[in-house]
């Protein structure tokens, strides 16, 4: 929906030696859409960011981590709610995205957990978040910071 904003700001970077490595299912096949996050109160609380990550290539891609100047410990987390209605969250580990598939980072499920913020997350700002893949590829996306009470990328 907010694709137009992202297409403008999304940059795909190959950190491998050569200019391009066509044989690899690299980050050029990764499309990130609808990225958003909520503003923080100060810097003591962890933040969370959400987005849809699609693999448009022919090979699986494996997301192994995150990097951002905003937080010292960014990590993909998963919230789970059990049969008793109790919610907990823990690191999601590596995430394989099959060819043609997407994964949704959304409230109550997978999220980019931003621990040890280096600065407050201010509504109206954006921050760069880099997705790291197991083949050394990286995709950086500018994540808009919405209000604390935002429910989705539309808010």
């Amino acid at each position: 929906m907010k694709k137009h904003i992202l297409t403008g700001t999304l940059t795909a970077l190959l950190t491998l030696g050569g200019l391009s490595v066509p044989a690899l299912a690299g980050p050029e096949d990764v499309v990130v859409e609808n990225a958003w996050s909520r503003a923080s109160i100060g810097m003591n609380r962890p933040g969370a960011a959400y987005m849809t990550i699609s693999n448009t290539g022919d090979e699986p891609v494996t997301l192994i981590g995150l990097a951002t100047p905003l937080a010292m410990m960014p990590e993909i987390h998963e919230t789970k709610t059990n049969a008793e209605g109790v919610s907990s969250m823990s690191p999601a580990g590596e995430i394989v995205i099959a060819p043609g598939e997407s994964i949704a980072l959304e409230p109550g499920g997978l999220h980019a957990m931003l621990m040890r913020l280096q600065e407050p997350m201010t509504e109206g700002d954006t921050f760069p978040l880099t997705l790291l893949f197991d083949d050394g590829g990286e995709v950086t996306v500018e994540v808009p910071i919405l209000g604390i009470a935002a429910r989705g990328p539309e808010d």
Binding site: N44, R45, P46, V86, S87, M89, P107, M115, I148
Partner: protein, 208 residues
């Protein structure tokens, strides 16, 4: 206790099998089964706890009697589930419009160590004005959770901090204090508002 002991010692093989079958039925198909949470909260009138709201007022279960209540647990250092629940509830309250004015809406922290009265005041200020934030001493929070049959647990994180696992459902009580129903965390949003209206309606029934 007495009865359980007699059953345990006295039941012969056949009896035990029958009991197991009964327990199985009770849990799978029977009335003990489909509730999302193992146990329902007791009535607010049967609870006993002392907390402080985000404006510094002394509050307890009796504060909630007389108006229908929507209550849920969380903590302000929660990055994902809690802001989402608070935003969802703010949306439901917007949908309810004037009807929302007739309700108590209470966010009870499970992390009183970090969630002081001032912290709660700042945090709830970002959401619907009907939402009240309640905190208090750890042993009082434990009594609230007991009454709700809710659970919470402190879990250390790799960053050296800690997070809280906690019941994420929203609990609805009638004006009489009787428990009506709960809204599960993953329940579709369109189910929530009718459920809240049901609790509001029970207000009249509860009054008789």
């Amino acid at each position: 206790m007495q009865r359980r002991a007699i059953l345990g010692y006295g039941a012969a093989g056949v009896g035990a099998v029958a009991l197991m079958l009964f327990v199985g039925w009770w849990q799978v198909d029977g009335p003990g089964g489909p509730e999302p949470i193992g146990q329902r909260p007791v009535a607010l009138t049967a609870m006993d706890f002392r907390l402080t709201d985000h404006e510094g007022n002394a509050v307890g279960p009796e504060t909630l009697i007389g108006r229908p209540t929507m209550a849920f647990f969380g903590f302000t250092y929660c990055p994902d589930v809690c802001p989402t629940t608070l935003s969802d509830i703010s949306g439901w309250l917007d949908d309810l419009g004037d009807e929302a004015d007739e309700m108590n809406v209470v966010f009870i922290t499970v992390d009183p160590e970090r969630d002081t009265v001032e912290t709660m005041a700042e945090y709830v200020g970002y959401f619907h004005p009907a939402i009240r934030g309640w905190t208090g001493p750890e042993e009082q929070i434990a009594r609230v959770a007991d009454g709700f049959h809710a659970t919470y647990e402190r879990v250390p994180t790799e960053s050296g901090d800690y997070t809280m696992n906690h019941s994420a459902s929203v609990f609805l009580f009638a004006a009489s204090g009787r428990f009506v129903t709960m809204i599960d965390y993953h329940e579709p949003r369109e189910f929530a508002v009718p459920k809240i209206r049901r609790a509001l309606k029970e207000e009249t029934e509860g009054a008789t």
